[in-house]
C-alpha cells in the first residue's frame, strides 16, 4: 500500500500476509522561551508490523526505539545534558475497512481503528541529576487507549488520505500527559512514470502531508502544568518510491503554526526516512 508517512492509511493488508515498516526519524525542538533554553533532540526508529487477519481487518504492532537528549541551563547557570535511550511504549491496534468502493483503477475506503499504547518503555529512568522529567522518559508508564477513522481515495495518478484520531492519556507516577487529538491529511501524486507501461512499474510519488495536533495540558499531581499542551500545525513535503515488494520514502515535517501554552517547547523540524516490505 502506498500510504502516508506521518499517519496510517485505509488500504488493505491481504489476508494472511505481513507488511513490515521501519521508519527512522530525527526530531529537534529548541525554541524555548524560558530561561532554561531547553533543546531536545530525539533520534528514533519505529518498527511496524501489520498482519491481514482478513481482507478487511488488519492488526498492527508498533515498537519504537528512542534516543532522547535534553540540553538545558540550570538555575545556577550551568549548561547540562540529560539523556536516555531504549525501547519506548508499544502500540497495538486493529483497523477494519467499514466501507469499500472499488472501481477500475481507483478505490475509496473508510476504516475506523482502535488500540492501546502499552507502558513498555522505561518510565523511571534517572541520571546524576536525579529522576528524568516525565517528558524525557522513554515511556509514559500508563495504558493509553486511542482510536479514530482513516479514509483513503486512491487512483492510478494520485492518492488522498485523511485521518481523525484521539488518544486518551492516563495517569502514572503522579503524572498524566494531556490527551491528544489529531487531524492528518496526505496527498501523493505520481511523478514518474508519466505514462504507465505494461506490468507493474515502480511509482515515484511526490508527497505533501499536513498534521494538525492538539495536546491538552499535562497534569502533575492532579494540577495542570501551564507550560504544556497547545495546538501545532505541521506541513511535510516528501518523496516515496513504491514497487510491488518494497517502498522507500522520506519526508520533512516543518511547523507552520505553534500555538503552545506558557513556556512549552516548540518543534524545529522532524526528518523521517524509511522503508516497507511486503512478505
Amino acid at each position: 500500500m502506498a500510504a502516508p508517512q506521518t499517519f496510517n492509511t485505509a488500504l488493505p493488508v491481504a489476508e494472511g500476509e505481513f507488511v513490515f515498516r521501519e521508519q527512522f526519524f530525527y526530531r529537534k525542538a529548541s525554541d524555548d522561551p524560558s530561561p532554561a533554553d531547553r533543546e531536545v533532540e530525539v533520534l528514533g526508529a519505529i518498527s511496524v508490523l501489520g498482519y491481514g487477519v482478513t481482507g478487511d481487518f488488519a492488526a498492527f504492532a508498533v515498537l519504537p526505539y528512542l534516543d532522547k537528549e535534553l540540553d538545558l541551563t540550570t538555575a545556577g547557570g550551568a549548561r547540562i545534558t540529560r539523556s536516555t535511550n531504549g525501547i519506548g511504549d508499544a502500540r497495538f491496534f486493529g483497523r477494519y475497512t467499514a466501507y469499500r468502493d472499488d472501481a477500475p483503477g481507483r478505490t475509496f475506503r473508510i476504516a475506523p481503528f482502535a488500540g492501546i499504547e502499552m507502558p513498555t518503555g522505561d518510565d523511571d529512568d534517572s541520571d546524576g541529576q536525579g529522576r528524568l522529567p516525565a517528558t524525557l522518559q522513554l515511556g509514559s508508564g500508563s495504558w493509553d487507549p486511542f482510536g479514530g477513522v482513516v479514509a483513503t481515495y486512491q487512483t492510478l495518478d494520485y492518492q488522498i488520505d485523511a485521518q481523525a484520531s484521539y488518544k486518551i492519556n492516563t495517569e502514572a507516577n503522579g503524572f498524566e500527559f494531556g490527551d491528544e487529538a489529531r487531524l492528518d491529511a496526505s496527498l501523493q501524486y505520481r511523478l514518474w512514470p508519466r505514462e504507465l507501461g505494461p506490468g507493474v512499474p515502480g511509482f515515484l510519488y511526490g508527497v505533501l502531508e499536513g498534521n494538525l495536533r492538539y495536546r491538552g495540558k499535562n497534569e502533575i499531581g492532579g494540577i495542570d502544568d501551564p507550560d504544556s499542551g497547545g495546538t501545532s500545525l505541521f506541513l511535510a513535503p516528501g518523496l516515496q518510491y513504491v514497487t510491488k515488494r518494497w517502498i522507500v520514502e522520506a519526508i520533512v515535517q516543518v511547523p507552520i503554526v505553534q500555538d503552545l501554552n506558557g513556556d512549552a517547547l516548540e518543534d524545529d523540524f522532524t526528518v523521517r526516512a524509511g522503508f516497507r516490505v511486503n512478505f
Partner: protein, 110 residues
C-alpha cells in the same frame, strides 16, 4: 577435410531437428496445455497492492504463474497443465487481498 564434412552432416541434421521441435511445442507437448484466465481487479491502483492479489491467487492449487497489468487493472493467471480455475476461487482470492473482482474470463489455452 572430407572426413570433417562427413562428420558435420549428422550434427547439422540433429540441430535442425531440435530447432524444429523447440519451435513447435504444441506438437511436442500436446498433453501440457495450460488454461489462462484474465481477471479484472477493481480497486487496484498502486504497485504495492498488486503483490497481495498475486500472492492470494498464487496460493490456489494448480496456479502456475500470476502477472498483473496495473494500467488496465487486469491479472493474468496461468494454470499448470490440466488445472482449471473457477470464478468463485478467483473472486474469493481477490477479496482476501482486499479488492473486488469484476471480470473473469478464460482467455485461451497456451
Amino acid at each position: 577435410m572430407r572426413l570433417g564434412f562427413k562428420a558435420s552432416m549428422p550434427i547439422r541434421v540433429m540441430f535442425t531437428a531440435i530447432a524444429i521441435l523447440l519451435a513447435t511445442p504444441g506438437i511436442v507437448f500436446a498433453d501440457e496445455d495450460r488454461a489462462v484466465y484474465v481477471l479484472q481487479a477493481d480497486g487496484l491502483a498502486c504497485p504495492f497492492c498488486a503483490y497481495g492479489i498475486e500472492k492470494q491467487l498464487g496460493r490456489i492449487e494448480g496456479v502456475a504463474t500470476v502477472s498483473t497489468d496495473i494500467a488496465s487493472g487486469t491479472v493474468t493467471v496461468t494454470m499448470a497443465p490440466g488445472a482449471n480455475l473457477t470464478e468463485r476461487q478467483a473472486e474469493e482470492a481477490v477479496d482476501r487481498a482486499g479488492f473486488t473482482m469484476r471480470g473473469f474470463k478464460r482467455k485461451a489455452t497456451e
